[in-house]
Symmetry: C2
Subunit: 452 residues, 2 copies
């Protein structure tokens, strides 16, 4: 006998799980379609060289590698790998099919990715990402539309209290410069800053100090991230905060392009559903190294970590194409959305949870051909119908339907078959009535509507 | 620069491909739901030991194996593998969650599988299977419902000329016995018989002879598969054919259980949509070794090979559970269905093929915030809207929409913004009209309806 658990860090999705996943995916997909994004899918398996070197040293370690086949298997070498994210395959696709794709290519992609991470609560080795990306334009309209689409998707899922934090990679560099952090320590400073949510400003300051950043620089950064500038953000909103940061990075009074870009994104979203969710956060760092412009992250108060994040990455496609194609995207994490929605009870009550709307039972197994015929009539009416297959007593058959929460049982006995009728039992209301076989479907549908 | 093609034998699905795939998957899924099947998904990655030894020697060779991670990577050993079919994972799931699943578990599963086969026309290394299986009952109602569900799925996809061929593993054994093929040559005989469609009866006879089967046995088998019995099938239908085969395998006149089982399946489907498609074919062999009862295969005249197949396998779950659970299933091959539908032009004409219903254009880039606001109104009306992001001349913007086949362009200039209106250009009819911004969505929807 073989073990029966799924592989470590992987999950089987039973029907109830799938209904919830499909609900969330359906909402996200419909919103993204309204925003003009088109579906794309790529293979689970990529050439190993496509993925290597795109995710940093730590990423390389987490890639699942596939052994060569046939006579080469014994070499122990790998030539293929499992998809690690949806962004690198997108860059490959844009390079490969450039002539077939529209100049402004907007795509969504909802597929699993695999990472050989240590499994933990909410962290799996196979998980779905819901990505949405626009390629071909450097306009801040792209960022504004992405933020709006993500806001609408989260809103239509039932989230009201999310924030979409916005920052800019170039602005982070400018803040570090202005605070007096030498360029060679920028990377270290960002690694420390990335932990602000977890270890607070005292922890970040301590780590920066350990990494060799001067006390004066740390004091200046503290001012930006938690002092007067942060206060301007709280009291005056993003535009006031942006002005404060502009003043900080440019004593000469000229506004850097990064601040201008963020301002424009706020203006563009002023009369969209993103307004009220979008905030400016000069401390937002985002881990991935390929970002080149605006970066964003979606958070809710009751989840450590984010529901998703993204940003502009104008150089990644160039690694495949040899010529740069501007790009900007956002990735929602399906598993985290499901966790929060589950904990908050956000799934609609009418998500299908039963195997069928009605079960067909027969008194005499010899009458099964009639059961299949009548099941066909009920299905034509649009009902989900289970035909009880075995020659059990009618009481046992009804009990089985009840145990599965199937609300109706349609019963065929000799009398019903002779009269062309079927008896329908409502297991919830504990009532029953006999209908012409052709009319039973409508009656059951009406009964389902009344249950809500 | 890295290569940009997908890995060998794998495919990227561009938007148009996805629309077609989702159409087919949607039809199949809706039919299977009406038949009381529930969705199940399993991870792409399984423990290697779960898959090894389940698919025969040839199958083992075609499994993609995943290298151990971290310090064990250097060993060159594999501990995981990619899903090879959907049946073995189902058997594992049924064993693992037996207490959580209904006693009669009916599930569908539409997911990719991976095989390291030599790629060829219509044969890929990543391809989707659409499986539907019933577990927990030995009743022929199960087979009858499966055949009906598959028939309805193919019919709703637009196939009218398919045959669902039915046979029985045990009956094949009885035919070989009656023809005088010794038990130890049954395997060889079935391998030869499996090629009947390709190499015809002369080729099969020749191969059987080479494999050591006597001339008398070959003559008897020829009679069953192409002679008088086959003629009874053609002229008298499946029941007459079954009687002839029963007479052949049992000179004493008693009807073997296998024939009784097939008869019952034909009776049960008599008044269902499977009638007229279901045929009896005593020569149908099916490759997989785990079948134990009825076997079936769906074919259309213009495709060598099948659209799908299946059968009863009452012993597979027992390999995981240690106690046997009766099971029967059918697998439709998505890729082959797509090939035939493409060649025959069977896709509905209204499958979405454009990126959006309407594109928003602005005369002055400074007015982009208005474009995003009006886009929001159109999206609330249910339209798929692309906002042109760049500050190009209006003519270039309209040309872009036209080049993508987007049927409408909504234009905002200074006059429109001042008046709270928007000008809508119908690119197909080459007309334009100006609407209140709140009314434009309805007008465009009406225009789309008129286009059909």
């Amino acid at each position: 006998m073989t073990r029966t658990e799924p592989a470590r860090g992987m999950r089987d999705y039973l029907p109830e799980d799938i209904r919830r996943r499909e609900h969330v995916i359906g909402v996200i997909r419909r919103v993204y379609e309204r925003y003009g994004f088109e579906p794309l899918e790529t293979p689970a398996v990529e050439n190993l060289e496509t993925l290597m070197g795109k995710y940093g040293e730590e990423g390389n370690q987490l890639i699942f590698k596939i052994l060569k086949r046939g006579e080469h298997e014994a070499s122990g070498q790998a030539d293929l790998a499992l998809r690690y994210d949806l962004t690198v395959p997108l860059a490959r696709v844009v390079a490969q099919y450039q002539s077939k794709l529209p100049r402004l290519f907007k795509r969504y992609q909802i597929q699993p990715v695999w990472r050989a991470d240590r499994p933990a609560r909410g962290r799996f080795r196979e998980f779905y990402q819901c990505d949405v990306d626009s390629l071909g334009s450097t306009s801040p309209v792209i960022e504004a539309e992405l933020c709006t689409a993500v806001s609408v998707a989260l809103t239509e899922l039932g989230f009201t209290d999310f924030h979409l934090r916005l920052n800019h990679r170039q602005l982070l560099t400018e803040i570090l410069d202005a605070a007096g952090v030498p360029a060679e320590l920028h990377g270290s400073a960002l690694v420390a800053l990335d932990k602000l949510d977890k270890i607070k400003i005292d922890g970040v300051s301590k780590e920066m100090s350990e990494r060799g950043i001067s006390a004066a620089a740390i004091e200046a950064l503290t001012e930006v991230f938690t002092g007067r500038i942060a206060m301007d953000l709280v009291t005056g909103g993003p535009m006031a905060g942006l002005q404060s940061v502009a003043d900080f990075v440019s004593r000469a009074g000229d506004v850097p392009a990064s601040v201008e870009n963020l301002r424009r994104i706020f203006q563009l979203t002023e009369n969209t559903p993103a307004a009220g969710h979008l905030t400016f956060d000069p401390s937002l760092a985002r881990g991935l190294s390929y970002y080149t412009g605006a970066i964003m992250e979606a958070n809710v108060p009751d989840l450590a970590g984010s529901l998703g994040g993204g940003g502009r990455y104008d150089n990644l496609v160039g690694m495949f194409l040899g010529q740069s194609v501007p790009a900007c995207g956002f990735s929602l994490g399906l598993e985290r959305i499901l966790v929060v929605m589950g904990e908050r009870g956000m799934f609609p009550p009418n998500l299908t949870t039963t195997a069928a709307d009605v079960m067909l039972a027969v008194f005499d197994a010899a009458d099964a051909p009639h059961a299949l015929r009548v099941a066909g009539l009920l299905r034509e009416a649009g009902l989900r119908v289970l035909v009880y297959p075995d020659a059990d007593k009618i009481g046992k058959q009804i009990k089985y339907a009840d145990s599965l929460g199937i609300p109706f049982v349609a019963i065929l006995g000799g009398n019903e078959i002779a009269a062309g009728t079927v008896t329908v039992k409502n297991l919830t209301a504990q009532t029953q009535a006999t209908y012409d076989q052709a009319a039973a479907g409508g009656a059951i549908l009406e009964g389902l509507r009344q249950r809500g």
